[in-house]
Symmetry: C2
Amino acid sequence: MAKELKDLTKRSENYSQWYDDLVIKADLAERSAVRGCMVIKPYGYAIWEKMQHELDRMFKETGHQNAYFPLLIPKSFLSKEAEHVEGFAKECAVVTHHRLMNSPDGNGVVVDPESKLEEELIIRPTSETIIWNTYRGWINSYRDLPILINQWANVMRWEMRTRMFLRTAEFLWQEGHTAHATREEALEEVLRMLNIYNDFAHNYMALPVIKGVKSPNERFAGALDTYTIEAMMQDGKALQAGTSHFLGQNFAKAFDVTFINKENKPELVWATSWGVSTRLMGALIMSHSDDNGLVLPPHLAPIQCVIVPIYKNSEQLAQITEHVEPIVKELRALGVSVKYDNAENRRPGFKFADYELKGVPVRLAIGARDIENGTVELMRRDTLEKQVEPLEGIAQYVKGLLEEIQNNIYQKALRRRNEMIREVNSYDEFKVEIEKGGFLLCHWDGTPETEEKIKAETKATIRCIPLDGDKTPGLCMVTGKPSKQRVIFARSY
Amino acid sequence: MAKELKDLTKRSENYSQWYDDLVIKADLAERSAVRGCMVIKPYGYAIWEKMQHELDRMFKETGHQNAYFPLLIPKSFLSKEAEHVEGFAKECAVVTHHRLMNSPDGNGVVVDPESKLEEELIIRPTSETIIWNTYRGWINSYRDLPILINQWANVMRWEMRTRMFLRTAEFLWQEGHTAHATREEALEEVLRMLNIYNDFAHNYMALPVIKGVKSPNERFAGALDTYTIEAMMQDGKALQAGTSHFLGQNFAKAFDVTFINKENKPELVWATSWGVSTRLMGALIMSHSDDNGLVLPPHLAPIQCVIVPIYKNSEQLAQITEHVEPIVKELRALGVSVKYDNAENRRPGFKFADYELKGVPVRLAIGARDIENGTVELMRRDTLEKQVEPLEGIAQYVKGLLEEIQNNIYQKALRRRNEMIREVNSYDEFKVEIEKGGFLLCHWDGTPETEEKIKAETKATIRCIPLDGDKTPGLCMVTGKPSKQRVIFARSY
């Protein structure tokens, strides 16, 4: 067994260490020399590119266009929306100078004090302010609306405790920013994008999520409502996988963006924003992977099928290659991304372990005996089961199997997640159950005070007020006051 | 005629103003609230996305993978390669703090002095330093080489004079960074990427470029050699469209990156880097466009064909739409991106002017009379010629015409460029000719001193020492000293 595989911590021993090990050993990312920032390695980036590709297509199919706004935001812009600056001021990277000079002592370079900026610039933690300042120039009449724009970008939030993909100072994301003539239209957009995130999570990430709305405490800074999709990791902790914000007219007010409506009267513009980030990589890793490494859903796997030849000499290799080439061609024609790994400097056992670690959904191994028998050994990464299949028709078989694996990974995650959801009816019970992890469905009186008390005492927060499911009213588990419906509590990433 | 079109300055009146007008009026980009930074609007970004798509494919077909490295670079990293820091220190955006706080006077927010960083961080002007610091951990033996990585990213250079797309403080680009075991392999990579840029310019941008090597004065800071593709704009000024650098072992030395070679001895790694940026947008605009607006080569046009219905009432519109729908379908099936603009709030004349301004290569106009006659009016943007074509088979005709237009735009740019190249044999003649613009082929003695004198006296620089063409030696036009071959001088963007 390969060295890397042996070194992977088991989930049961230390889940957190298992995650950190896996990110490194599967070549997804590594820590950089800059505090809190990571390097996304080619294999990790290839998965992110697949996510981007599908999301970008879904955005465009619903009428959105991409654009690009500046990285830097004047400090004064942040202050214009009171809650917004409150939410982001404590984690801003601030640019104060624009030049270096040779150090007077001859050692390297120092900041040139003469190059101090008149107004400091902030590296965008999110782009509402610079975008709404721009939209002011784009919007005059109701005919200019809606504006449906998305941006793929890097952003920076100076977090004190960071973890690769889950919480990094710099991260990659997309941020949609739309402008509408009416409240209804904006709300429709908020839910449209929430549903796109939901579909993406289910169909590509094989990730069951719960759609809901955030409690006021957990809202985006500056939003009237934040909608979310919430996922459950294997260790019983929740992960917020995507958010869609109803911003009302807050940013239009802060940046003076009005339009002339059909009745020829000026009105403030309605706004939404929505985003997902490289955090999704963390969700993907933690939802499906096991003690042998990554398990990737085929719809996001950079390599869906790897073929490894087993040979004793170059003659055998040539013979195997001759049989493999048409299979590779056929798989490609079927839209399957396939790699034939005939590298001679690594032994089959090493390759097997490495592709297991990297989560390649299907592995085919072909030796001289297989060629004689017209068979191939197939291993599914999701179940680790080996089976022998006829060589004839193997491409079609793999194509179908990938869909089966995609579905199986989803069903497995769904079963696990569902087992982790339970109703809790008293605060005493809650304090016991929260230690076991999972989503706890509880009655809550709707006040920030009760939510804060629960958080302070148990580290659990309201993940969301679910949109679907049981809406029976009840009594708050803490205060006994009326509750409109059960909400979801969990500890979270 | 539409208002926007009327306001476009003529090239002959003021070429520079024409460019600035066009960028704004064709909805490509606009200045932002942040000094020197632009907003790339959806139509401009869609062209950039098409460029990205083709380049990314070409990079991947030649074995490169994408990855992502941090935005911020520790100040000390920049100093490690002496020439590199010399080249970039004067235009660095410097992050010095990581937190804002409420202003003690109650007005907005100020930088929290307690949040000063121990070491300042620089927003990457280019990523050689952070990447080679990372490569040190990835490279042990010759088996780890080559590393062929590309990054799509934003970078920042605090330029004092900026122009949209051509020179902005923040710009978008791709930067390739490769590591090799031998000098020969690295040089091969440098030329491979130069040729990819050359092919992209020719086949997609319809832009004739000259491949060459830079004189020492014009090299990338830290490179042993910089290869370039040089383009000629309509006003006689040159534009550097892409560069590919042979970095030798400079960055390996600065960041201590060695590998164990096949003879089991440690050796410094060989490096290349190469990049093109949103500057290409400027080149595209200035090469082909005219006094009516943008002219886009079909291979990069977000909309290749627009169809405008001409109708008097909704009955006629319905009838036209019935005939247009199958044509739209057929065009899409042929891979043509088509827009049917049946918006009722804009008149045909306005639409015509707008699509001309936006450079849509083919416009079809269909009225009730056309339906009767089985014809359609077609306008080519490159020649502004109108022609009447049979409706039957129109999709196939447009498909073929787009290729003809692509080629015609290229041939036109090539003719214009070739007319602007001339041999100059004396410095007196040079001083006259340089005022007329264009590429001047001259003998030069190969010294930085002579090059600097010419630059100081005429504002012209050596654009490149061409790789192809006449290599006859001669005598320097300034000093009379021996010259190995003619080099290309021009004033440039």
